[in-house]
């Protein structure tokens, strides 16, 4: 028996050694790979894969099928069925969390992570990061918006002032297109006044908290700025290249550069976003800046996975990024590529670079936020512009976030009462109010002998008192009181 065991052991060692050997030395080979790239980039991607095949010295031959799938749709397509999805795909950075959770992205090894960190701009590196790990290769860092304008309507000296631009448009009867009923755009006003909205993820890409102050004094100023534009008859909620259909100003990104240049001809103007004035102070409208990333799907065959990572590094290197700038005007994420002549001579990329001084790198954002935050614009538009009405709109936004996530600072720190109290059964958090460290339940509850409860913080069990359930000994009507400093729980009979 022992002998048999020894033989088996030796065999398994041999086997694992041979597997190891093949993984390290035999990366050479032909691999069938599916790549999803935006329609415009399909042909270029094919030729770049060819270039990889002829230039790599590892003997990797990629037999690629490139399918046109927009980077905006990548996650929704991948998540349908990861096993049938593409091996390599372009995606917009806000999909990172969803893709990690769906197990559709390979965590980068140390070498690949160093490649990403060493070569790309800080914002784009951040975009590929979740927790401590990196999950994708930055392709572009141009996913932001700025302002295109018609020079025959808006004189160059007016482009820094929102009020002046609105006046120019109203005088000329031309529209101002700004897709504010979309959280990606309306958040720019809030960032301009110093607000922030950050989602916090754990290493697995799960959202664990939000830190958001849109409902604040600074947020009120932003809401006033939004109101200035949306209350004007020339405001159009659109991000399309609308110059041919009556717009004099369009806020959009690099993807519309060629179209708008063609529409405006000699009157083509492009600039960073303007400032708006509230109570004598100027606020420059901010924006999101974002990236497109290249993701690698986890592979059952580790060797193929390694080959795919080599291909991904090639497709996101300096030369390939510059090719995309030349062909489609995409702004590179690569630090050296940014310095290249092709990038510096593109006016849209220059405007994007100016706007980037006021831009927030788009972090990982919970999918529900977009639907909640876009409503701010419609709510602000429906008000009469008074402080109270605008505050109500912001309060509604904060309530909506809290309802989805229940993780405002206040909720996270508050103690609540939970147990078999007041007709509930460990399923409802009953509110408590603090005076210093002493938390008291908002209501007195009628309790039977044997009623059990705890006081917990942030509706979670990380901090909860007492350690074992509190058991009521004598029936009566009591307030529950907690000393958060000592963790002591007591009953106070209601008068």
């Amino acid at each position: 028996m022992k002998k048999l065991f020894a033989i088996l052991l030796a065999l398994s060692m041999l086997l694992s050694m041979s597997v190891f050997a093949s993984a390290s030395s035999e990366i050479a080979g032909t691999y069938d790979v599916t790549i999803w790239a935006p329609d415009a980039a399909v042909d270029l991607t094919k030729s770049q894969v060819e270039a990889f095949n002829s230039s790599n010295e590892m003997g990797i031959v990629i037999n690629a099928t490139v399918e046109p799938v927009s980077e905006a749709d990548a996650a929704s397509n991948m998540i349908l069925d990861v096993s049938a999805g593409a091996d390599l795909y372009f995606f917009a950075q806000d999909q990172l969390s969803r893709l990690i959770q769906a197990n559709a992205l390979t965590k980068l090894g140390q070498g690949a992570a160093a490649f990403v960190k060493d070569n790309n701009s800080a914002g784009s590196v951040l975009a590929a990061q979740a927790g401590e790990d990196y999950y994708a290769y930055p392709l572009t860092a141009d996913n932001g918006y700025f302002m295109y304008y018609d020079k025959s309507v808006v004189p160059e000296e007016d482009v820094d002032s929102l009020e002046a631009i609105i006046a120019d448009c109203e005088a000329a009867g031309k529209n101002f297109s700004f897709e504010l009923e979309n959280a990606w755009y309306n958040a720019g006003f809030f960032f301009g006044t110093g607000c922030h909205s950050d989602w916090i993820t754990d290493d697995a890409g799960n959202f664990i908290a939000i830190d958001d102050d849109f409902n604040s004094d600074a947020g009120l100023i932003a809401a006033k700025g939004i109101y200035k534009l949306v209350s004007s008859p020339i405001y159009v909620n659109s991000g399309n290249a609308d110059f041919a259909s009556g717009s004099a100003v369009v806020v959009t990104g690099t993807w519309n550069y060629a179209t708008i240049l063609e529409q405006l001809g000699d009157n083509f103007g492009v600039a960073d976003l303007p400032s708006f004035e509230v109570d004598g102070a100027e606020y420059h409208i901010g924006s999101y800046s974002g990236c497109k990333l290249l993701g690698v799907k986890p592979q059952e065959d580790a060797v193929k996975g390694a080959a795919l990572n080599q291909l991904a590094q090639f497709l996101t290197n300096k030369d390939c990024q510059i090719q995309r700038t030349v062909e489609f005007g995409w702004g590179p994420a690569n630090k050296e590529a940014v310095q290249d002549e092709a990038v510096a001579s593109n006016p849209a990329l220059t405007a994007l670079a100016e706007q980037s001084n006021y831009a927030i790198p788009q972090p990982n954002i919970h999918g529900s936020w977009w639907d909640i935050a876009k409503v701010i614009t419609t709510d602000v538009k429906a008000t009469d512009g008074s402080d109270d009405a605008l505050k109500a709109a912001l309060q509604k936004y904060e309530d909506s976030i809290a309802a989805v996530f229940e993780m405002t600072d206040e909720v996270r720190n508050a103690f609540t009462l939970i147990g078999t109290v007041g007709g509930t059964n460990w399923d409802t958090d009953l509110p408590m109010t603090a005076e210093g460290d002493i938390w008291t339940s908002n209501e007195a509850y009628e309790m039977e002998a044997g009623t059990e409860f705890k006081c917990r913080q942030g509706k979670a069990w990380d901090t909860a008192y007492p350690a074992d359930n509190f058991v009521v000994e004598t029936a009566g009507t009591y307030y529950v009181q907690l000393d958060a400093a000592s963790g002591e729980v007591s009953l106070v009979p209601a008068a």
């Binding site: 935006p38 329609d39 399918e67 609308d242 063609e262 529409q263």
Partner: protein, 286 residues
Amino acid sequence: MNEKRHMGLKTLNRVSNTSIYILLVIISVIWLLPFIFIVLQSFRVESTYQVGYVIPKQWGWQNYINLWNSDFKRWYLNTFIIALAAAVLITIIQLCMSYTLSRFRFKLRGPLMRFMLILGMFPGMLTMIILYRVLSDLGLTQANAVPGLILVSVASSGMGYYVSKGFFDTIPKSLDEAARVDGATRFQVLYKIILPLAKPIVIYTILTAFMGPWGDFVFARYVAFGTSSGYNVAVGMYSWLTNDQIARMYTTFCAGGVIVAVPVTILFLCLQKYYVEGVTGGAVKG
């Protein structure tokens, strides 16, 4: 006096007729405008993005040539194959089903009809996830989406028997009996006696069976995801509507819309006479 009143009535008639016609013209203009708009836009070649005017400044076929050079050919063919196969198979299955339920008497006939009625009340979309799983295990997704989608649309078609069964019920049974006495088989009765009488309902069944897959989007997108060669026209053209492409593809999209409308329009023009009869015919007796 008499004459005057007569005139008044005439004027009144004329006034009410005129106002009704004006109303109808306005409604038809509102209804037709989008179609005219799409047709006109599909011939605009001076630019490819959305513009604020309707009549093209330069006319040409460029958008249709673009269509021909894109994957649209493949999508169109896919859609056509699916719709055609579905139309043939669904019609056969549905007519056999209706004939059986109308003419045969068997033990579970009542419960079966009720069961299918109840099943039919669940929206088909509910089954999407599990159907995807099944199709994917059979290898009928993505590049093989066409047979997969045919299977999906045909598989449950027997449940849509109501209208044609209603029509068959109105055909006197004595005709069947006479044919049977003359030695016809059950199938011959269906084929030689009932179907010629039920022409409108057959046409109606073909039309609806063709139209379903022709305009399908949700399921087609789910089954063919991320594989251009498996798209149908709706899914394929939808992929042109992304932010970064719409400015380039807008007029091509319009041209695609026109091409998609052509076979359906021809089909309706040829068969509209029967269609109306079919819709009302089946409702005579439930």
